[in-house]
Amino acid sequence: MNVIEFQNVSKTFHRAVGQRLLRHYIEDMIGAKDPNPFYALKDVNFAIRDGESVAVIGSNGAGKSTMLSLVTHLMPPSDGKVIVNGRLAALLDLGAGFHPDLTGRENMRLNASLLGFSRKRASELHDSIVDFSELQEFINEPLRTYSSGMILRLAFSVALSLDPQILIIDEVLAVGDQAFQAKCIDKIFDIRNQGKTILCVSHAHAILRNLCSRAIWLDHGQLIMDGPVEAVLNAYEGRAAHSAAE
């Protein structure tokens, strides 16, 4: 079964949208064509089967994050169809929704409810989340006293306890110190080994080679290559080395 499917998906943005929000909106509504849109994704097609773990690679601005935002339904595609089946957890921006004046514990609860935990599950998982984060000593301190590594620990601990069918990870593998990073990566491997689907954006190729079986390479919004992780990463690294040499 396909859990994620992109059918001829394009996503365009207006250029310099900040200056003329209303004008652009009215143009969108009456269906006027933007003469010079920016294509974040252009006619992308792929399907991911249940239990696959897929890496998404590409240089900055290639459309990787746009793709993940479409998968999580944060925005609709401009063209084409995005189909997602299954409960999904997205580690897009750890700590989105955190507030510096709330304590670690309060933020943990708030974040859990934002991610879709029920009241009961949040209470049940409370201790294991705190344990995983190793922040027992600071859990009642306001978040503004935390270091950035500690904030990431807390966010990661909440998100990883969600038990999703599809896990979306965006550049967040470099969490905290090495010991904690190793712990998180172990946890992600656990989730994969339970047969869950993983879609992962990262520049850490060594991790991707171990974690993923397949890779999708995006460049300027277009799908360049889709295949076994080793082959795609080699092609991508070859091209990067080639353009660096020029």
């Binding site: 209303l22 909106y25 339904h73 997602v84 921006d93 929704g97 708030l110 409810s113 934002l114």
Partner: protein, 254 residues
């Protein structure tokens, strides 16, 4: 897409709003009491000592019946309008149902409202005629005002994403409405032609109902409550429909 626990989420967002507003203040929730009490004192001074009038006997209670609803309305509408744009990080990164954000902002203001309503009821007992059976109307009329504000906020918070000037429109509208809502004057002073229009404004309708209940110890006029219910429901329906229409493109415009 998001299939979480709406009530749990709403509760957490409300508590968050409330906590961060007061956490670092020494006086905490006393600010909720202080503001209407000071305004009540100042307006009583102006309209009893400076511009004396004889159409209102219990002016402090009279003006408090106007100030408490209006304060709530203006704070909730202003804060609610900017709630989507202010939570852009959340909207762009977590697929949480968007309606929850402005509604939670309104409901967190309801905590202050609750404190101010207690002040109003205390005033009705201490300097007014005291408790009567018509107080049973209070939950209904207050709920209708909250419904109205939720509707307004759904509309303006969504519009604010595309038209950031919306927050200033709302700010100005509140200043204008302070004069166009019978806070420090009675409806009988308003020419008949405008009086009906006044009654279709839920804030004004609530103030009139409160005065009937708390000062006159009488049941609010059923036609007034009907007008209040009508305006609130219509505004909520329009606000919700508009929000649904506009929310798909929040990501692109934030």
């Amino acid at each position: 897409m998001w299939n979480g626990d709406y009530l749990f989420l709403l509760q957490n967002l409300i508590v968050k709003d409330f906590k961060i507003r007061y956490r670092n203040m020494s006086l905490g929730v006393f600010w909720s009491l202080l503001n209407p009490m000071i305004m009540m004192g100042v307006m009583t001074f102006v309209f009893v000592k400076v511009i004396p009038r004889d159409d209102v006997t219990n002016f402090p209670l009279f003006v408090l019946c106007g100030l408490v609803p209006f304060n709530f309305f203006s704070v909730a509408w202003n804060n609610g309008t900017i709630s989507i744009a202010n939570n852009a990080g959340l909207i762009k990164r977590i697929p949480v149902p968007r309606e929850v954000v402005p509604i939670a902002t309104v409901l967190s203001t309801c905590i202050h409202l609750g404190i101010q309503i207690l002040l109003l009821l205390a005033a009705a007992i201490l300097i007014g005629p005291g408790v009567n059976v018509y107080w049973l109307w209070l939950p209904l009329v207050w709920a209708l005002l909250i419904l109205f504000v939720c509707g307004l906020v759904l509309a303006t918070s969504a519009l604010d994403v595309y038209l950031r000037d919306m927050r200033y429109v709302v700010e100005s509208a509140c200043t204008v409405l302070f004069w166009l809502v019978p806070i420090f004057y009675t409806l009988t002073l308003v020419p008949q032609a405008y009086a009906t229009v006044y009654q279709f404004n839920p804030v004004a309708a609530l103030i009139l109902a409160l005065r009937r209940i708390l000062i006159d110890s009488a049941s609010p006029d059923p036609s007034l409550v009907l007008k209040l219910a009508f305006s609130s429901t219509v505004v909520f329906a329009i606000g919700l429909a508009l929000f649904h229409r506009l929310k798909n493109r929040f990501f692109d415009y934030l």
